[in-house]
Amino acid sequence: MTRHWKPLALLAALGLGLWWAPVKIVLLWTDALVFLLVGVLVAFVLYVRGKPHLRAPWGQVIRRPLAAASLVVLSAYVVVGLLDSVHFRERLAPQAGTAVDQDFYAVEVLSLLDLLTTPLRTRLEKSYSAPLAAHLYSKETVTLEDGSTTRLYPRLQYGGAHLDDPASERSADIAQRSLSALLLGLLAWATLVALWIAWLARRHRHGFRDELQAILRGQADLPWRSIFATLGVLILFIAFALKLGLAYHLLGTDKVGNDVLYLSLKSIRTGLVIGTLTTLIMLPFAVLLGIMAGYFRGWVDDVIQYIYTTLSSIPGVLLIAAAILSVQVYIANNPELFETVVERADLRLLFLCMILGITSWTGLCRLLRGETLKLREMEYIQAAQAFGVGHFKIISRHILPNVMHIVLISVVLDFSALVLAEAVLSYVGVGVDPSMVSWGNMINSARLEMAREPVVWWSLIAAFCFMFLLVLAANLFSDAVRDAFDPRTGRG
């Protein structure tokens, strides 16, 4: 057990730190489920590591260059999402006249990501401004010093505030900052990659140069070339965000002056939660009912088939709409249950996940039923039955492991569809709470501005790009997973 003390100590230190910090931890429902999911994933990874026959297909997945690059992108998203899942309320400074031993906490719920992006979060402008602009998007009437009024584009409060004369200095300043961001990013990337390769070389007992050559030729154990290239792009983006995003608004500002980069980052958690928690919620139903229907047949099969045919015959969007409308009524009638806006929005997000889960488990259930019907006629299961092994044991020992590939494939395939569905549902008006930042809400509010002249394109494009990257990475990764695990492709 001695080798496990490090993570435990780290956890304890983290816990102590949070306990001492002047904050009150807020554990939202979705946060709890997200951490449960992380726990399940860690357990799954540990389990797979010990089984060679499970490690082989995963090794095959990770050795595909595109899948490895996608994994890097997905990890970056997951890190942002996890940082955004630790919520707390800051303790307010004690005011005169209140009891000393009583603490007051801010109404605003923040997350670790909010803390890290404080400069982005707090630099509010008045309204729209284009990416890297120094002026507002629209003209305003301003009173000059001599008392006369004129209409001009006012300077932004924060974006480009360090410039004296934006008209002449801005392009040069942006160019200079981009250059330094490029250099900084490349330097950071080169350092990281060099350290990494040195570590790899030591582990493989090669020389540094041999390892480097193997990687460049693509002969290393993993497709490090694509991993490092993707890392490079990520690091460059971070460098640009640091150098330009702190002096300007890298992706512009939205209608109420929020930084679009900050909104795009905040949306990541919403997208990930919908993509993963929905699956987590529906999985037990789909697996249990699907296997039971196929294994027991008879009236059990009839009942389960009836349930999933009924559910899948209702058009998905309408069922979601009906359920979300009900939740809305419930929330509107019970305002006293929710201490903060965030908690209310969170409950709605959780309900959305549940309802999406209810509408999406039927496909997997049907697949599992069919597969179990086939499996239960197999000789080894007949043999187990003849030996008098109990139903529960047969299902858990012999059937479940043999349908896991179907579960896995459908889980990864569903993820991207769910992320895309969120945007559409928000457009219909039955998506996440309007107060919650999500790509769907960003698109929905930006869409109305397409009619303006010149077009307000930045928040739309930003939301699309962030969403596209996540969905593309997920799709490429799920392709590799399917190829590795689906016996029909003949390689797994």
Partner: protein
């Protein structure tokens, strides 16, 4: 055959009852008519009298399932469940919150929906199968690989982006067709051309990739090897043998969606201002008109079950081995 159809239609009845019970539970038990009234009238300062009046106006002032005050059969028929849910079985949809007849509206709005959905469906099917056959023809080459990557990229783009991007590019920048709107007769063409094209393009990624998998699965079967061994050129193998045999898995996925064409496409119709059933549904959801949503749920379920039945029947047409019993 006829007996089979009758039996399957009878099997649909318990499913439709289930759908009805579920929607009834969602709309009347989870939120009571009082909640609905409060929501419709605005949350604050609603007097109990106003709620009662709203309920009486919309026919929600009866007991839910069992009316003890009425006599005889009225104990069961003079209830909300009978009024609002059972009547759906005879396609009596009742009236919307604004007093319009839902059945009439659905019949009117069906046509624009079909005008949009049928071309998207047919041309899209043709385009997708063509692309998939091309990829299968060039399988395991760079053409195939690039085709798959292109499909993955296309299917990673949100449908909203296709619509917004298309509207901006074609209508706003190039002024080729109106941004949105609809007109009857021949002039509908200029309003429909862009949504149809966008509908086809947004479906190419997922569609072609799916058909490609089906074709590739067929390509590895024994009869294909036999055909090749006979000396048939790859072109003939693919078009005459593989395409025909791939019809069965293709039909499974496609036929079930045909009746759903009536329902229209939610976001396309609403973005382009086409007065079809899709935009009808969205408007109802936004206005929280429970009557219309309930009607559309029922209609959708009926059409889905019809689709399942059609799928089974279509098997007998393309595959003589299948006998329905």
């Amino acid at each position: 055959m006829l007996a089979y159809i009758v039996r399957r239609s009878l099997y649909a009845i318990p499913i439709l009852i289930g759908v009805n019970l579920l929607t009834f539970w969602l709309f009347f038990v989870v939120n009571s008519p009082d909640d609905m009234a409060r929501m419709q009238l605005g949350m604050k300062h609603v007097t109990p009298e106003a709620i009662e009046r709203w309920k009486a106006d919309h026919g929600y002032d009866k007991p839910l399932l069992y009316n003890a005050e009425a006599g005889g059969a009225g104990k069961f028929t003079d209830t909300i469940f009978f009024d609002k849910s059972v009547s759906l079985f005879v396609f009596d949809f009742g009236t919307a919150d604004d007093g319009r007849d839902i059945g009439y509206d659905i019949r009117q709005r069906m046509w624009p929906s079909l005008m949009l959905a049928i071309p998207v469906f047919l041309i899209g099917l043709l385009v997708n199968i063509t692309f998939a056959l091309l990829m299968a023809f060039f399988r395991a080459t760079y053409v195939d690989y690039m085709g798959v990557v292109l499909c993955v990229i296309l299917m990673s783009i949100s449908a909203l982006f296709y619509i917004i991007g298309g509207q901006y590019l074609i209508s706003k920048l190039m002024h080729l067709v109106p941004i949105s709107g609809y007109d009857g007769g021949l002039s509908a063409f200029k309003f429909l051309i862009l949504p149809v094209v966008i509908g086809i393009i947004s479906g190419i990624g997922a569609g072609s990739r799916w058909y490609r998998t089906i074709f590739l699965e067929e390509v590895n079967k024994d009869y294909v090897r036999t055909a090749r061994a006979k000396g048939l050129p790859e072109r003939v193998v693919l078009f005459r043998h593989v395409l025909k045999n791939a019809m069965i898995p293709i039909l499974t996925g496609v036929v079930v969606t045909i009746p759903m064409l009536f329902m229209g496409s939610l976001i396309t119709e609403s973005f382009f201002g086409i007065p079809g059933l899709g935009s009808y549904t969205i408007d109802a959801i936004r206005a929280q008109d429970f009557g219309i949503v309930r009607a559309m749920v029922f209609l959708g379920s009926v059409l889905y079950i019809l689709g399942l039945l059609l799928t089974d029947l279509s098997y007998t047409l393309v595959d003589p081995r299948v006998r329905l019993s």
